[in-house]
Amino acid sequence: MRVLVTALSGHGHLFPLVTTAWALRSAGHEVLFATAGDMTAVKATGLHSYDVAPGLDMGKLVGQNAGQAFRSSTSGRRFDAEIDMRDHPAFRLFNGLAEGMVDGLVGLARDWRPDVVVYEAMNLIGLLAARAAGAGSVSHAIGVAHNKDLMARFGAMQIDIFQRYGVDELPEPDVFLDVAPPSMKPEPDGWPMRYVPYNGGGQLPGWLTGRPERPRVTVTLGTVAPMLTGVGPVERIAAAAAKIDAEFVVALGSNVDTSSLRDLPDNVRLVGYVPLGPLLASSIAVVHHGGAGTTLTALDAGVPQVVVPQGADGPINAAAVAAAGCGLNVTDEELDAQLVERLLTDDALRSSAERVRAEMHAMPSPAEVADRLSKNFGGQNS
């Protein structure tokens, strides 16, 4: 079977599809990963990739819209409200990317003839690629917030793009892959699939595969938030750390202004980009911004979480974590030593985190889903 996988090139959008692509590849299927903009992340996945919009200036689109979009959605209300969001900067950003990618993606699908197109739920032009190739269409959720209805509403706002290709009404995908743990969403939107984190591969430093001497707490704000909303939560952790018997490993990526994080206590360590999976495997708790991938990776690791939402879908993820009992949903100002102490000692948080982890590990793995996709779509075009 030939599978065209497509996502935006940002880590949060691209990473969750990698394990699914590996599942297909290791089952013997051909996989081509189509994206655009910054090709760095996809080139490090071992997959064959294709740039559907060479020269696409992500920076320009991001520069115009992203900061405002990220912040203005911090309340979480606008993300899923039943209102016309067409003027919202977040929509303009995603729509701009879709406009930039659609011709190249559809052209690729016509040339490469996939049997099925697996598209990141927000990259709805995957539906047009599937249609162009006469292939099956699979929407791949990347977080607990990405439900089928919301994506349909999001797609309806992009109907102009579809109409240019002679499609008047947004089609439904043949399959929706839902990665939400059952207790966070009792009725899955489609096929449930275990979220197996991919957060970048590469060489691990020795300290990451060994056991830490003190209990380790991971602190991360993902790859987008620290550039848009700063490192306030890390400053608050740094201020509280001296009072706590734990090692705080702060994973902030490479393009972040850390000038406010000088003179850190001995038990706070800044590291560059470190894959979150192995880092959490050596940690007993995590403090993070509520990104979809970070939240699911923490749920998979079964560690209690403090979520300090910074924007985008962070508030929704934070609320879901708190409702499941495996973490705390707090504002920047609420983040203090007492709260961190609770994170490390509250047995109820820990047992809930372990329960959700067990639930996730019992869901059909990407390997099993790949098998099911093959039975449904194999032989469509090959």
């Binding site: 590996w22 290791s26 081509l32 590469g202 590990h361």
Partner: protein
């Protein structure tokens, strides 16, 4: 479960471990690759598989060890010896030759592999055929080890030979013998090499990822022929076996894509218009729109060509390349040109592109391989082995 994956240094040993590692990860298992390279690019190329990697030794170690193993013998004499042993049909002698060559490399990484395993606590070790450090670490922890073949020929005795060659290393770590639970994932197609041994597994090529250029996605108007000597031979034995690209390729109505960077290609002199050098590009992606391949007979190139179903012209230079060339010719999916005797000529190229029996046999083997259980399908057996 937690799976530690080990391999001997060198891309031909390291990269074939990626698909089974992906399969394990996609089934939700934890995977850590503990490997070393033979040059500075090897570990980064492995890490670009997206898997997690720890480097077990700096690559300089192995340059020294290879020089020592050659024991003053020059490259020509070494090739001659391997050729003789290969052609003698004495597979066991070739195998013990290999075991002796690779044992010092396993010994060099053993302390670190054991230390990593002691800390990381795998439930299973998956190792490449010539690697003895992974099985040692598994034996120490009392967990099973599974060998994954990278080519046509596996052996019932090789594993024991490697263990024997590492007797001192086993003693140093206080381990009595190899893991009691050991299995083999065998990628030989049913009609080639030694298919009866171990558990049959579909060969899924991994030749590195990468961004594909437009021209590679479309089947060209005239047949495209891929030409490669792999990653070792050009630096080791030179580009002599490719001189025909400058001399006769221009006479053929075909497009030749050769995996050399521009500096290397210049060594061949002026190349005709229908020869295109490309820097490292995954071989399976190159073959997807190609009609044939000319290669050195490395296991990765041979297996990838078989899996993609293209006729092969093999110009073996060393290692297991002579036996791979022999197996390909015996199966009818290609033929060999002995570059010690003659250059590849226009007649050979015409035969490669027009002999329908080659294409038919290649298509048969492709179908055989595709019908084997994929790495993803073997994961449940590995879980059962761990128990």
């Amino acid at each position: 479960m937690r799976v530690l994956v080990t391999a001997s240094p060198g891309l031909g040993h390291m990269l074939p471990m990626v698909p089974i590692s992906w399969a394990l990860r996609a089934a939700g298992h934890e995977v850590l690759l503990a490997m070393a390279g033979r040059n500075a690019q090897h570990v980064p190329m492995l890490a670009a598989s997206g898997l997690h990697v720890v480097e077990t030794q700096p690559h300089e170690t192995f340059v020294r060890l290879m020089d020592k193993a050659r024991d003053g013998m020059d490259v020509k004499a070494m090739q001659k010896l391997i050729r003789e042993v290969s052609r003698s049909g004495d597979a066991e002698r070739l195998m013990s030759f290999g075991a002796r060559l690779f044992a010092p490399q396993s010994d060099a990484v053993a302390d670190n592999v054991v230390a990593i395993a002691d800390e990381w606590r795998p439930d299973l070790v998956v190792h490449s055929p010539m690697d003895g450090a992974g099985p040692l670490a598994a034996a120490r922890l009392g967990v099973p080890a599974v060998e994954q073949a990278y080519g046509l020929s596996s052996s019932e005795t090789r594993f024991a030979q490697i263990v024997e060659a590492l007797a001192d290393t086993y003693r140093r770590h206080g381990v009595d013998g190899p893991p009691t639970r050991h299995a083999l994932l065998n990628v030989a197609p049913p009609s080639m090499g030694t298919p009866a041994l171990g558990w049959a597994m579909r060969y899924v090529p991994f030749n590195g990822g990468g961004q594909l250029p437009d021209w590679l996605l479309r089947t060209p108007d005239r047949p495209r022929v891929i030409v490669t000597l792999g990653t070792v031979i050009p630096g080791f034995a030179g580009l002599g076996p490719l001189q025909w690209l400058a001399d006769v390729a221009g006479d053929l109505d075909a497009e030749f894509v050769v995996t050399l960077d521009n500096a290397e290609a210049e060594q061949l002199g002026a190349l005709p218009d229908n020869v295109r050098p490309v820097s490292y590009t995954p071989l399976n992606a190159l073959l997807a729109t190609s009609a044939a391949i000319i290669h050195h007979g490395g296991s990765g190139s041979t297996m990838t060509s078989l899996a993609m179903g293209v006729p092969q012209l093999v110009v073996p230079q060393g290692a297991d390349q002579f036996s791979n060339a022999y197996e390909v010719a015996k199966r009818g999916a290609g033929f060999e040109v002995d570059t010690e005797v003659a250059q590849v000529g226009a007649d050979d190229l015409t035969r490669l592109l027009t002999d329908a029996s080659l294409a038919a046999a290649a298509a048969e083997v492709k179908a055989e391989i595709a019908a084997q259980p994929a790495p993803a399908a073997l994961v449940s057996r590995l879980v059962e082995l761990v128990g």
